[in-house]
Amino acid sequence: MALQDLCKLQEVLVDRLSAGCSSEPFGTTTGCNYVSGSPFSDAGMFHFYIPAAEYLEESPIRFGQIRPVRSVGAASSPDSPALSWPPGLPLASSHCVPLPFPMAHGTTTLAFLFQGGVMVAADTRSSCSGLVACPASQKILPIHSHLVGTTSGTSADCALWKRILARELRLYQLRHGRRVSTSGAAKLLARMLHPFKGTELCVGATLCGWDGGAAGGGRDPGKNPSSVSGASLCYVCSDGTRLQGALFSVGSGSPYAYSILDQGVKWGLTVDQATAVAREAVYRATHRDAYSGNCVDVYRVSSEGWTRRTREDLKEEYYREEERRGRPSE
């Protein structure tokens, strides 16, 4: 679940194949194989070296299946699960090592609900303090057939955490025979990121999904139109924010996108109209925001799952706009 469980924090790529492999009984209902005190026995799944501090001492709230794991041989009571560092490792100070390189940040992503499902759009520029690290990155990552997540913040964090989320959702589906709802997935992601609050992990994701089966089950059908359709939208941030809503835009270009969306988004839009609004919002944001640019990806999540529109290079759009106006655009 949270990375602390997976990697036990003490280990720096030490494979303890023999120690404590079967200290957890396998008779639990979930049959999970998270063992206490050692990383996965197939060595090196996810060894995390965190030069960390007191805020990581608390165990995160788990999703329900896993028992609290204890390090083998650590004399810790249930009240104080202390981190015990192996004596050889230096204890770093409470803030992390200053990095000599910048991380990739800066983006425009947006998502909104409408009668045809959820419309999701993002630019494709990945920038690293002034340099475009990648002009063709993918910021909308499918998590499963009916759930798509946008990424904003550090691309490495977003990509890895989406993978972890996808794995946990799949495990839940296999164990319980039903898919997690979008807000459930958002809650899971928020809980998993909570132990890393205060570190430099930076993830701002909107989870856009279709909750199938008993669509909108449990929600008051008279309250809002989306409860009938099952489309659902949740914003999760690594600082702990988790919001459900009908329209979100995240990233450095979001103010520009919001202005287009506030004007153009209505519940009754057709798919083509919604695509046009989403595309226009990203286009305007890329025009004004230096850290957004290149191409636009548009996805749509409906009851059949997610579908993707071909990636479009916005450079052509600028020239078309120029011709339309009869004067050069700024």
Partner: protein, 237 residues
């Protein structure tokens, strides 16, 4: 050891004027220079790197190539902090052996890329200061290039430059291989001979303007027949 804590200026020294007493913290990182480049073709891949190992104003070695052969179809180029490059390649080699013994087959390029991403992210809060580029053939025999950032974000590309001269080389590759920003040109697919010649020209240009790149160029060409290497001299100043 330099305390290189300014973003975007790896290895550059601070201005020398007196600003008051300054406390220099020990920095576990150092920047050893070097440039790596990879290009993927229809049925080949090329990974090239210069062979200069520098630190600050000194050159430690003129014969330290940065391409490491992983399998018969995959080569990784690592530039950045040499200590982390060495450790990272040892870890990758060990994991390749473990995979081979558990699964009785060699790892494919895509699998190596995914594994490297998790290895790098495992050190999210004390990263390996290495810019990696993997070049190789995928399961269908087509060229594949995977480029990484130091914390494990990766994706598949057709071409990528990494390291100290990457900002100079990448636009040239965008233009010559990706045909970006050229109007009315025919997009001819890249042949192996043209790609190798382009890589050599590109490194000669990089050595002109980047102080950390030079001495010699090592080119590894990966085809289904195997990996062949060439060494080409560059400027030594």
């Amino acid at each position: 050891m330099l305390s290189s804590s300014t973003f975007g200026d790896p290895g550059k020294m601070r201005d020398y004027h007196y600003t008051g007493p300054v406390e220099h913290r020990f920095s576990p990182y150092s920047f050893n220079g070097g440039t790596v480049l990879a290009v993927a073709g229809e049925d080949f891949a090329i990974v090239a790197s210069d062979t200069r190992l520098s630190e600050g104003y000194s050159i430690h070695s003129r014969d330290s190539p940065k391409c490491y052969k992983l399998t018969d179809t995959t080569v990784v180029g690592c530039s950045g902090f040499h200590g982390d490059c060495l450790t990272l390649t040892k870890i990758i080699d060990a994991r390749l052996k473990m995979y081979k013994h558990s699964n009785n087959k060699t790892m494919t390029s895509g699998a190596i890329a995914a594994m490297l991403s998790t290895i790098l992210y495992g050190r999210r809060f004390f990263p390996y200061y290495v810019y990696n580029i993997i070049g190789g053939l995928d399961e269908h025999g087509k060229g594949a290039v995977y480029s990484f950032d130091p914390v494990g974000s990766y994706q598949r590309d057709t071409y990528k430059a990494g390291g100290s001269a990457s900002a100079m080389l990448q636009p040239l590759l965008d233009n010559q291989i990706g045909f970006k920003n050229m109007e009315g040109v025919q997009h001819v697919p890249l042949t192996q001979e043209k790609a190798v010649q382009l890589v050599k020209d590109v490194f000669i240009s990089a050595a002109e303007r980047d102080v950390y790149t030079g001495d010699a160029l090592r080119v590894c060409i990966i085809t289904k027949e195997g990996i062949s290497e060439q060494t080409v001299p560059l400027r030594k100043d």
